[in-house]
């Protein structure tokens, strides 16, 4: 365990009766990082967070905070404040009393409590609402109260459980930058659970992708986006095209993948796989190109047919279909699209450089 590790999960398993929520978690959270745990509902991300907060006890394994095992430490004895999806603000207390709550529980004197609460209310730009009831606040204001309430104790780590899911799109984006700045300025470790890729990728330093209680991949957003490790991650992110087939030796040296869509050359620096084994390669939709004439032989080309398009702001997503009926997506700028002047049903080639594709684990 390195010196900059704040939390480590060592072989952590959580079962609820016969249901395995989390199976064998092994990962570390670094001091001062913004870590997002992402996955669809039921993947175990919230259970992981709740174990860290002390709201659930691991069935097996050890969770360490600053090197000390905290498995049996009740939540009220750890400093792991959490921001809840429902925010869980106390409706019978006003804004200031909510923020002062944790300080009061720690026996901080009245004057000091007030001073520190006011500092955070000010910092979250909600000091003008300090005497209001929670019911009189807007969603964004409540969000800020919830953050202030957890941060007022200036913890080492802050846990966030999908705190933005109740907000509208515009407010969500604004709160994302508030959170990111807050994390950067305070240096507090943020552990942020979400099912939203855009939230995780825009804020986090590192992202953990979970599925069915196991970690599929940990890495920086760039790493995960460019090189999804497993088929699940590639599918989950939805920004890659996948091709599966059998590995064979290439006539031109290196290895090929025999897929239903044709022979695809594997990247030269790819790990050599035993001939005859099955493998899957992914290629990003932004690295997949289109051409009406057959591309040069060094590129991997697949004949496709246009089946639809969708405009998303500056880029458009083009939906194509191989002869075998596999859907392929391509992201293109509007100018490039205009040059191609495509029509639905038109046949052309989708192509990419072998080095832009990579092999994923078949998990």
């Amino acid at each position: 365990m390195s010196r900059d590790t704040l939390v480590s999960f060592e072989g952590v398993v959580k079962r609820f009766g016969g249901f395995v929520a989390v199976q064998k978690l092994d990962f570390e959270i670094k001091k001062g990082e913004f870590l997002a745990i992402m996955g669809s509902s039921g993947c175990g991300k919230t259970t992981t967070l709740r174990m860290l907060a002390g709201l659930e006890a691991p069935t097996e394994g050890v969770i360490r905070l600053s090197g000390k095992p905290i498995n049996n430490l009740p939540t009220w004895s750890r400093d792991t404040p959490m921001v809840w999806q429902s925010l869980a603000l106390f409706p019978f207390l006003n804004v200031r009393e909510n923020v002062e709550f944790a300080l009061k529980m720690r026996g901080v004197g009245k004057a000091e409590r007030r001073k520190r609460a006011e500092h955070w209310l000010d910092r979250m730009q909600i000091s003008e609402f300090s005497e209001r009831n929670i019911s009189q606040l807007s969603g964004g204001q409540r969000q800020r109260v919830a953050l202030a309430r957890s941060l007022v104790v200036e913890p080492e780590i802050l846990l966030l459980d999908e705190p933005l899911s109740a907000l509208d799109a515009a407010l969500k984006v604004r709160m994302q930058s508030v959170l990111k700045n807050l994390q950067r300025e305070t240096g507090i470790t943020f552990v942020y659970v979400t099912h939203s890729q855009s939230e995780a990728f825009s804020m986090a330093d590192r992202v953990v992708i979970m599925s069915r209680g196991v970690i599929e991949q940990i890495g920086t957003p760039q790493e995960i986006y460019r090189t999804p490790r497993t088929r699940f991650v590639a599918d989950f992110l939805g920004s890659s095209n996948l091709f599966s087939g059998k590995v064979s030796a290439s006539a031109a040296g290196g290895q090929d993948l025999d897929t239903p869509a044709g022979k695809l050359r594997l990247a030269k620096d790819a790990v050599a796989l035993p001939a005859g084994s099955t493998a899957t390669v992914t290629v990003l939709d932004t690295k997949t190109h289109l051409s009406t004439s057959r591309p040069e032989p060094s590129a991997n080309a697949v004949p496709v047919r246009v089946i639809g398009e969708e405009f998303v702001g500056a880029t458009a997503t083009l939906y194509l279909e191989t002869r075998q009926g596999q859907e392929i997506r391509v992201q293109k700028g509007h100018d490039e699209l205009a040059d191609l002047s495509l029509e639905i049903g038109q046949e052309l080639f989708a192509w990419w450089k072998p080095e832009d594709s990579h092999i994923v684990a078949e998990a």
Binding site: W76, S77, P91, V153
Partner: protein, 281 residues
């Protein structure tokens, strides 16, 4: 915007309206009228005389009974609430769903038997040679006088209100947002402290209403103060029966009854206002 009352809607609400007018408004108005009648030579006659009000309000015994009744009902409300809360809390938070259903069922069972019968059975326990004194005698204690004391009256009030108070508290406790409790724990609020800092404030409305019900039931109760308290000290309900028995003084009894109704209205109004304080929606 208020919709005008349709004939259709009126048809269905009419029975309730008729019922209310016949059995509540009309008797109440009659009671008000009755309090101004006069009694001469044991004969009541319609009149408009404030003599009953001035006589009753001028008597020390009336105010004594009023004070006693108010104090005893208030003590009963607080005592019952305090004793019922751990039970309601345990049922709400510590039991499984199935066990909770059984507990609710058990709380309903006391209502199967008439309150009067339950109070009589307490006499068997509390009397000088009753069950409790006999058991205490085995270990060389007592006998103590338990029947015909204020304490026995309290036992009666508890018998009357306890199951209802538990149920009312329970219904407010089960609707508490559990994440609020987790959030409090997460902010370093221990178990017991969370009960006072989060659970009770969250369930305030229901807890106050439960206490109010106990107050109302105890304030007007006649059975316990007579059969367990032995009629001492005199409560307003005892005073009413005494007044009607002594010289047909129904108008004076009406004054007591109206005073009780007024008091309950003020208490209920204040309690409800407190219960819903700060809830603007």
């Amino acid at each position: 915007m208020r919709r005008p009352i349709s004939l259709y809607g009126l048809t269905f609400s009419l029975p309730l309206l008729v019922w209310q007018v016949l059995f509540f408004v009309f008797p109440l108005l009659f009671l008000v009228a009755l309090s101004f009648w006069t009694v001469k030579n044991f004969v009541m006659s319609p009149d408009f005389d404030t003599v009953n009000w001035t006589t009753m309000y001028g008597r020390a015994v009336f105010w004594q009974a009023y004070g006693t009744t108010l104090a005893m009902a208030a003590v009963a409300a607080i005592l019952t609430s305090v004793l019922a809360f751990p039970a309601a809390y345990a049922i709400a938070f510590k039991l499984s769903d199935t066990a909770r259903r059984w507990a609710v069922f058990l709380m309903v069972i006391p209502f199967f038997t008439s309150y009067l019968v339950r109070v009589y059975s307490w006499q068997i326990f509390l009397s000088d040679n009753g069950i409790i004194n006999v058991i205490l005698g085995w270990i060389g204690l007592g006998p103590y006088q338990m029947l015909n004391t204020v304490g026995a009256t309290m036992v009666g009030y508890l018998t009357l209100a306890f199951p209802l108070v538990v149920l009312l508290q329970l219904f407010s406790l089960v609707f508490i947002d559990r994440t609020l409790i987790e959030a409090a724990h997460n902010l370093r609020c221990g178990r017991l402290r969370t009960v006072f800092a989060v659970v009770i404030p969250s369930a305030r409305t229901g807890l106050v209403i439960a206490g109010l019900f106990c107050f109302i039931l105890s304030f007007g109760d006649f059975v316990s103060p007579v059969y367990l308290g032995g009629g001492e000290p005199t409560t307003l309900s005892i005073l009413i029966t005494d007044t009607t028995k002594s010289g047909q003084q129904w108008p004076r009894a009406a004054v007591i009854a109206l005073t009780m109704i007024g008091t309950l209205m003020i208490v209920a109004f204040a309690a409800v206002k407190f219960a819903y304080k700060g809830k603007t929606k």
